[in-house]
Symmetry: C2
Subunit: 314 residues, 2 copies
């Protein structure tokens, strides 16, 4: 089966049911790992920031990559491998949630609306928003290092390292710093792609890699899945730029036209709407080819997620 | 030798030379671990926030606890054990540095002066300050998870878990949240101590525990060292409150009288200056007793650090 046939097959995959099952598990776990009695009103603000509303693309990528890899493994290790994947899925969502809280703050993007609700600093004040983000980042590493668990220490340490690198200077936070300095500047396509590779790509890519790692795939398959993750990450951003121009705020759940208003460089401003759409399609083909190259057979969920990203319900 | 004699002995310990050697190593390591080519001006802002100026109490506690424990160990493991301690010493300083950057921001303490220099948001702007703190927190976990190192994965995972828990909702960030809600409120001594146990105590205590853990001490000795760490942590805060009333801004390197001005509860406002001084002395005795109880013999550096905290050059 080639990459195109793979894609056709995935269109018959029931992503809705698969996602609903995954989401139920992710939401329950996140709810369990947010401490119920954190000081002051941190429990309330963390729950507000994390629960109810996210589409959980990153977490679903972890679970999708895990499923692709685990089918080929010794099933006796299934329990701790699955626990590790679920913990990483939640950890990456905690990092993503913290980044949204901080990015929305007045000194950054100054957004008042997120998923159709007031942003955390509007709801709880700026100081609490700052602390909520800080706490969520620390919580992600707590979730990855359970004190009583069968997850081997080697995997725990590896997952911490992967997440820290994807979240930090050479990942999400670094990309955000480039974004901040790029407002009103002309970036060429290489520079724009580099920014997005860090800002959103790193976390999407690590979701795929970590899920695969938890499942115990070969290095060769892991390398292919990384390419899938990076292609998908870039596609996600191109589609985001397209939607910023074409969609309504109500559909986005955030303020539309924001990037254009603040004179941020986007794929649409760089190459025009049609070329941006074409680029998203090319990236989808690349992503599917990488899955095909992985030689893994249970990749239906990943293909279906990629398709949904480009046709954009994520 | 009892705890009092221990304390007398430590007065003859050359803390200055010991600290200077430790500091040189810590500064060199921190300098090495701040990425030289981080995006935008993050390298510059991270260096500004982290290097040059800190007294490195937390890092020195890690090294002091490590030295107390390592004397009793198999010396063949010295190299990786020492590397682990040094990495933790730097990681805890990165967490401390990020917390100062965020705490100084206008939405929190709104401080413009830190260690006699403009605070990070004054120097680089609020958005960069926010990102710098976020990046430093992630960097701490990068430093603890080296990809090529003899440090066992089990120790790496344990150190990540300890640091995450000391930095998060049940540690530093949680304490800061309580502090934020306590302005203008009356706290009793139990409530005030709980706040400080989280806000500053958790990071000081984990510095001692992690240093000891890297050295490979017994659980019994570790338990005593934890008591040393928590007593010292509280003593540190009591002395901080005393100095806020009695010292000049130039000596503190930050704005004096700030807590009284902003109507924050302090040990001095709660119990008066003399009683606060007495409390600090009692905590010092407790800390020394715990070291005595640990049965470790090379505790000179820790005793000398504790004495210096209470006589306050730290």
């Amino acid at each position: 089966m080639n990459a195109t046939q793979l894609s056709q097959l995935a269109q018959s995959f029931d992503l809705e049911t698969w996602s609903a099952n995954g989401l139920a598990e992710i939401e329950a776990s996140l709810n369990q790992w947010i401490p119920p009695n954190a000081p002051a009103n941190l429990t309330e603000s963390m729950k507000y920031a994390v629960l109810g509303g996210g589409k959980r693309l990153r977490a679903l990528l972890v679970l999708g990559a895990f499923e692709a890899g685990i089918a080929h493994q010794d099933q006796s290790e299934l329990a701790w491998r699955r626990e590790a994947a679920l913990r990483f899925a939640c950890a990456v969502e905690l990092i993503h949630a913290y980044s949204l809280v901080h990015d929305d703050m007045p000194c950054m993007d100054n957004d008042v609306l997120r998923r159709g609700k007031p942003t955390v600093h509007v709801q709880f004040g700026e100081a609490v928003a700052l602390l909520t983000g800080d706490t969520l980042q620390a919580l992600a590493f707590e979730v990855l290092t359970p004190e009583h668990s069968l997850i081997p220490a080697q995997l725990q340490a590896k997952l911490c390292g992967l997440l820290a690198r994807a979240a930090g200077h050479n990942g999400m936070a670094g990309g955000q710093a480039i974004d901040l300095k790029s407002v009103g500047k002309h970036l060429n396509e290489v520079e724009l792609s580099h920014m997005h590779k860090l800002k959103t790509g790193a976390l999407l890519e690590v979701s795929v890699s970590a899920g695969a790692l938890c499942s115990g795939v070969t290095d060769t398959a892991l390398a292919s899945l990384k390419i899938f993750g990076s292609s998908l990450g870039l596609a996600f951003q191109v589609v985001d730029d397209i939607l910023d121009v074409t969609a309504e705020s109500a559909v986005l759940g955030k303020t539309a036209g924001k990037d254009a208003d603040t004179d941020k460089p986007t794929y649409v401003s760089l190459m025009g709407l049609d070329a941006a759409k074409h680029k998203a399609d090319v990236l989808l083909v690349q992503a599917n080819q990488a899955l095909f190259d992985s030689d893994l057979s249970h990749t239906n969920a990943l293909v279906a997620i990629a398709l949904k990203v480009v046709n954009r319900s994520f």
